[in-house]
Symmetry: C2
Subunit: 318 residues, 2 copies
């Protein structure tokens, strides 16, 4: 089983409007709701790829209840998530799970995003989560991903604690966050971190991706996989550095492309694939997500076509 | 007791953001949730004025559950709604109560509004509502207000049916809606309709308020109270016509001013006040709502100051 952690899970709402005009009133033509937060998105991609996955983190209030019921409906046999299930191992919290609202302007196709703050998590709730997380790691977990922002109340060093717990349990661990939680998490020596170029620059102070990735590695990560948008990905490991990209630039919606890349890296980590293969999977899944007609989902035929065409290049000797 | 009907009730969310930029991502600084839809807003004002009030209409899904729990919390003793309670007489519906999202730009103070479509109401649910409505009218109801849009599935002649039921029960009835539901409702001869200038022009085809109000009266309303924004209100009855305004123009947020005007007219109707007094109450409550720091609520000291200062002028002989 692969485990993803989403401490600040969300109920993602998508509103479609003909044209978004600030300070005007709009009739929303179409509303969709789905479980959100990076780790839940990663789990959805993993399930579609056929990996048994469990999600943990916090869920609370009426929005948390809706999130969990949507997760259960997605996991029902014969649903689009493919052959594998997403098991709900979320921990109840007294606060209300946040909503995010994505307003899609049907004229331009662009999305305006409004993200609520997360629920306040008490020290007792955090302890309850840690106990549940340790129990999950004590089971059959092949790899764990720690994803996204921290809700209020969770200690800023939370990811460092979760990385250490995973290492104690000898479970490979990937960290995908930003800012101070990333900085602290790095020091606990995760197997992979997956910042984007901006997040990487934010913690290392350098905008040149290879130099920044090396700096992040020196701060503790065994491997740094930096997503560079349309330029693909850059990977720095103890065995060397690689870059990978699809043969041509793709038009589409980049929402969720980073989460799909995490799913690619994580599944490769769980299967013990060589680094170039992990990277190819991450880049092909990202591209198939950009090309999907549904934001945040990946297009399976595109993935099948892309995977063998991804160009992985060794950048330099180890 | 005063009854308000909100067939398309809503859970109103207010998001505060420093500055709304289309196609960008925003962290919402503050979220508030409250029961919404015109009839629920009217009931809140009536309760603050000390009138026992009941609300009916439809509520369903998790959003309906939140709406009802907020209503119950508001009705708890000692809450801000003042001495009187709002009784929940909403009818359950299988669909999900809609949300509205008001995004307040803290820089400009302006609000961008996103309104979800309402739940689909089945013919059986509409019949269940009609039975509940008749039972309420059979009790101690001094006046009823029919407010807002119709959710999908409810017949376009719904308000005509509800007006006729009220008249059969000898209960004074006010109608506050627009478009075809207003046009149909007018023919059933409500005691008061309260369109704004735009709604009035929409159904009568004339933009001159007095002429349009007379036209609406000829179509069936006993009295037409038209809200004219900062210009106050215009009232046409079988006893004559009046206009009323506060002595000076007020800066502030007009959200909910129309609902407060309905509360003023309705409470005057329930108490059998003379028309000029009803109008003065409506105009003073509207002004106190524009001046309130909280959108959609009225400022009680402003109301107390405004009420004696409202200028009511008789426009012409009956």
């Amino acid at each position: 089983m692969i485990l993803t952690v989403t401490l600040n899970a969300a109920l993602d709402l998508t509103y479609r409007v003909p044209h978004l005009v600030p300070h005007a009133s709009h009739r929303v033509r179409e509303v969709s709701e789905r479980p959100g937060g990076k780790g839940l998105n990663v789990a959805r991609v993993l399930a579609a790829l056929g990996f048994e996955t469990a999600v943990t983190g916090f869920a609370g209030g009426e929005t948390g209840r809706v999130l969990r019921s949507l997760l259960a409906a997605d996991a029902a046999p014969g649903r689009r998530n493919g052959p594998a299930r997403v098991t709900d191992a979320l921990v109840p919290v007294s606060g209300r799970t946040r909503r995010t609202v994505g307003v899609v302007d049907e004229g331009s196709g662009d999305t305006t995003q409004l993200n609520e703050p997360g629920p306040h998590v008490t020290p007792e709730e955090w302890e309850t989560f840690l106990t549940a997380y340790r129990e999950l790691l004590g089971g059959d977990v092949r790899a764990v991903a720690l994803c996204g922002s921290l809700p209020p109340g969770v200690p800023v060093g939370a990811y460092a604690t979760l990385v250490r717990e995973a290492r104690t349990a000898r479970t490979p661990v990937l960290l995908d966050t930003s800012g101070e939680p990333l900085r602290r998490g790095l020091a606990a020596r995760p197997d992979i971190v997956k910042p984007n170029a901006e997040e990487l620059a934010g913690i290392t102070g350098t905008a040149e991706p290879l130099r920044a990735a090396r700096a992040a590695q020196r701060r503790g990560a065994h491997a740094v996989a930096a997503s560079l948008g349309a330029d693909g990905m850059l990977l720095v490991t103890q065995d060397g550095a690689w870059s990978a990209a699809v043969p041509e630039r793709l038009a589409g919606n980049p929402t969720g492309a980073g989460d799909s890349a995490v799913a690619g890296l994580l599944s490769g980590l769980a299967e013990g694939l060589p680094w170039p293969d992990r990277l190819a999977r991450a880049v092909a899944l990202s591209a198939a997500t950009v090309r999907s007609p549904v934001a945040g989902e990946f297009d399976e035929p595109t993935y099948a076509t892309m995977l063998p065409s991804v160009r992985v290049r060794r950048s330099e000797a180890p």
